[in-house]
Symmetry: C2
Subunit: 694 residues, 2 copies
Amino acid sequence: MGSLTVQNKQTRLMAQARASATFNPYKLTCIIYKDEQTVLKRREAFRRVEKATGTADQSKLPREYADVSREGVYREGVRLGTASFVDGLLHDHDFFSGMDQRYTLSNCTPYGLHYMMFIPTIEEQATSEQAAYWLPLARSGTINGAYCQTELAHGTFVRGIETTATLDTKTDEFVVNTPTFTAAKFWPGAMASSCTHVILMARLIIARKDYGVHPFIIQLRDLDDFSPMPGVELGDIGMKMGYNGTTNGYAIFHNVRIPRDWLLMRHASVDRDGTYNKPKHDKFAYLTMLYARATIAQGSGFKLAQAATIATRFSVVREQGLGPNGEENADGSETTIISYRSQNFRLFTIISRAYAILFTAPTLEGLYASLRNVGETQDFGSLGYYHMLLAGLKAWNTQVAADGTEDARKCCGGHGYILTSGLPSIVAEAAAPATFEGENYVMYQQVGRYLLKCLKVLKVGRRIDPRMGDLEKAFNMYAGGDEIHYCQAKNEQFLDPEVQLSIFEHRAIRLLIKCDEAIEKSQRNGGLSPAKAWNQHMMGIIAAARAYMELVVLQEFIHGVSRINDPAINAALSRLRSVFALTMIVHPQSYDAISFVDGNYIRRDQLAQISSCVNYLLDELLPDAIALTDAWDFTDASLCSAIGQYDGNAYETLMSWTRQLPMNKDLNEKGSACMEAWERWTKLALKPELRAML
Amino acid sequence: MGSLTVQNKQTRLMAQARASATFNPYKLTCIIYKDEQTVLKRREAFRRVEKATGTADQSKLPREYADVSREGVYREGVRLGTASFVDGLLHDHDFFSGMDQRYTLSNCTPYGLHYMMFIPTIEEQATSEQAAYWLPLARSGTINGAYCQTELAHGTFVRGIETTATLDTKTDEFVVNTPTFTAAKFWPGAMASSCTHVILMARLIIARKDYGVHPFIIQLRDLDDFSPMPGVELGDIGMKMGYNGTTNGYAIFHNVRIPRDWLLMRHASVDRDGTYNKPKHDKFAYLTMLYARATIAQGSGFKLAQAATIATRFSVVREQGLGPNGEENADGSETTIISYRSQNFRLFTIISRAYAILFTAPTLEGLYASLRNVGETQDFGSLGYYHMLLAGLKAWNTQVAADGTEDARKCCGGHGYILTSGLPSIVAEAAAPATFEGENYVMYQQVGRYLLKCLKVLKVGRRIDPRMGDLEKAFNMYAGGDEIHYCQAKNEQFLDPEVQLSIFEHRAIRLLIKCDEAIEKSQRNGGLSPAKAWNQHMMGIIAAARAYMELVVLQEFIHGVSRINDPAINAALSRLRSVFALTMIVHPQSYDAISFVDGNYIRRDQLAQISSCVNYLLDELLPDAIALTDAWDFTDASLCSAIGQYDGNAYETLMSWTRQLPMNKDLNEKGSACMEAWERWTKLALKPELRAML
């Protein structure tokens, strides 16, 4: 953490804001990271890595801001990524396997996919013989694996993949090829210049017969001199909004030969004679993506919390204006921006959503574990449920994180637009997961499909999967036509979790029934094909899916808070849970909030009461703004933000880092970018007689 | 424009999509840019500039993607900016004065503030003698001016500015100083390394008396060798999300002396003996910011249209999945993503909002002209109205553009995340105006303040400014308590502009009355101070202001379309206007859509009818998707997008640009970033016995 040696207006404001907490943030930290032992171990790991990389010293401009060239950012990414990769191996921990030391999903590093996708795929898809060969190499970190699926023209729709792996029975090898330019592998993380091996998703071809997409292992680079293997063309896809500490790559294969048993054969296998043995269940090939979704959905909460931490810290030291309506401060002194309701309304909405995502972690971890066991338990019947819940949480968590980080950035005004605020990179890193490993609009449709199937079962009076008990309960309570149900709560009763839950239940089941009826009607009366009817009502299906996920998330939040024994923390997080539930209704940017009222379950006067509750909650929570963000235990180095320093010394740090920028070292010296631009262009432009020379 | 010489699946899909238009896009281009002569002149200017800069050739990787280092991006910015600056001077046009050749607000270039703020400020604030000296220098482009107001700790709240200009009557000079580190000028565009002079906003001090913030001219760099003037410390604030082709700078002043008459004295003046003559109207100092808001509000529509163009073009060539619900294509062929309702719903919402912003242009131009004449007309009474409308349009237009560009980027999936798609820079450039020149949440509060004043007048039965006739009309129609008014429309009647207008009118006045009553109640019954009451209901005030602006924008859209004589274009834009109005209600991401129904003006069954209308409109508009975006007449060079090429050749261009990246030229050669990273870090990390060396 930073030190409080510096004393100025900003650090004093920060100290005051920190002192006003109603609970001990360290105790909350131990809840967030499960127990104190883990907190202490994590802190040790961060100290080691930040010491090894020299990132702890906040008086120095972070290197990633000093050199933003493609090569410079990549070099720094490998330098930092190596430090955390090796720390995990030397000290036997996995703190940086899912997220790096900046709390970015570790696929942003050159080594992250090794743990996120490469090893899990082998564990799940390899035979015991294959596992016995590959896992020791992978777990000891003597190879660095990645996951190679997406192609230039093929993304979420895996079946569209064109890359081929053709069996050559003569040599007992597969021959890997990129048949068309649109089949070039494009996007896989770490692939261009960091990994040595990848899981390759390719079409399995035997004797001209196409058996569909299967997982192979293929080596991309030589382990001694790192040169690409014969027939492999590798390249960087270039600078992206974020994730530039690694190289997302493209790969083109020309007759690359791999042994037959580099096809991962636990489920589907190919014999020496070319006989294909098909898998018991065809979804296995996609399991790894499901694992990744669990990690992604969880990680997004930390990104959002980082943005919330920076924006909240800046908001308690930034002063602007004479108070609300310019009326408050007669003495002309300015007001800290967190005092403005529009600012604290936005900040606490963001903070509450970061905690909401946090409380989905137990479910996500449970899903991850269950999926990893599907092979053992042979519980194929559950795959649909797991898939739905992961798709939904991935979509909801990442969307909320993407929107929330950007709003947090906007909360910091102009300073949030500069790289050294740390926010632009956080926004960019939060934006990516909304797209990768399953585009969110596609994810929601998959959730909707599952929910509509459940509804059809419920409509004929049968039971559904007990894990969908919330949907069944909502159906039994509210399916009788929504116009007959009204929320009875008033005023402070809207702080009651049961009342909040009923609002979300009513909305979820109503939207589901509404789009089910609409789809049926379009087919029955409109004569549309099922596909066309689905397309007509796609937005309604997505809305129903999102509403169900919001019900799930609220349940998790309520459940998570109920397990907290510390009374002060329980009280603060209960307020935050109410802010979460009620701002989902009254925040102007909440998705589809109109659906909370268009069924008349909530009336207009109740909406006003809900807004009053939010005002009350925000006033209550203001003293805990810093504690609720400190509790995430982010180091200054992990935030990498001049304006989000723990000690509040925003302006001095920002100016100090700015002065250290290489561009400013030689700004006015001959040969600098500034002077070169003057000599070559500006000078000629400003002299009419010289303009012809341009 | 691109050429159709290349023939592949993507270019064929694009040709088909283009051929399906129901109108002639060139005719719409002539409407967008006012007349054909302007279109032709603009095209000539673009051809000259793109030829001079070599940006027309789309087979080459654009330089800004080749070198993304701070210095490289700045160098390219000056190179391109100089070309358009000089073209305007040599060919006497102002096509690039408000927006550059990439349709970014020209304050992103090293010369843009010269026209956006420097010259207008002199024209408005200088005496005729001062104007006679400065304007010839400025207009002939022999000096490059900027605007220096924001400080490290002071932004939107101009009165907080700390920089001082103290009169020295002995030498008849002002002495400019930065009294504290928080007073460092921080953010002004072009200031670090491109401009020669700036308008300096500083506190005028005479004999220890502080007369508040006034506009001065100060020279920052020598016109011969470009070195900073004595006592001026200049620096770059570093890389930002966007706008890096210029240097936003910081400046610290140490006893910098300027002649007394470099204070712009048209309104407030200082005599030789130090006598201060105060201005007739104290708002003059802020006029330049108002001019800038008109330009900003207009420019945001073009950014949004650029993003819509790229996303729409990519959506007609990108194929994914087997159609809605995976059911449509039995033959296994994939479907272009624009066919999915979720995709075309989002795209046409974005397109309709870009046109909505476009149709606010006449009003913005009128406001700009009126403001420029305030000095002559002495029409101070109108300033409040001008200020409100500009603040509101600036806030609404820029927010819609910021959100819409990001959603357009997400519509392109992973490829939208790569710089070479052109979208990340467009998103970053659209995000900035939501913050600068008046933060949007502050802007909406200023609108709200004005509207609440109008309401108080209406409530006592008096008339208000006739230019607020729409508010008065809404008040007279709906003020009698909203529960008694119901929208009578059904089904296709929601396509009627009058019906749409009534919905927006009812909502606007209802929200205004609601927050007025809430504020009064909090003071009367709650005993809150006016400031505290305002703060409690700030979100409601902002909602009312936004709702009024959306009414204004819809009126402009209706009015703009009504003036279009071409029947085919009128029909298409009428559909688009309906999409605009109705998606403001039913789009899940529309701000505060809940307020359309919580007053019961629209009932639930009507919402379903509105959704059906939107489905109908989208089916009708699909054939015009390309024509509606082509009409904006963006050159490939101005979009700078591999996936948004006019000819649809997205994948070949993306792969070609990717292969040209410098990083890929020497990827596997000794000394490359990749090989250096391997030698220094990865190799050691992968060899357990070498890890200690790290």
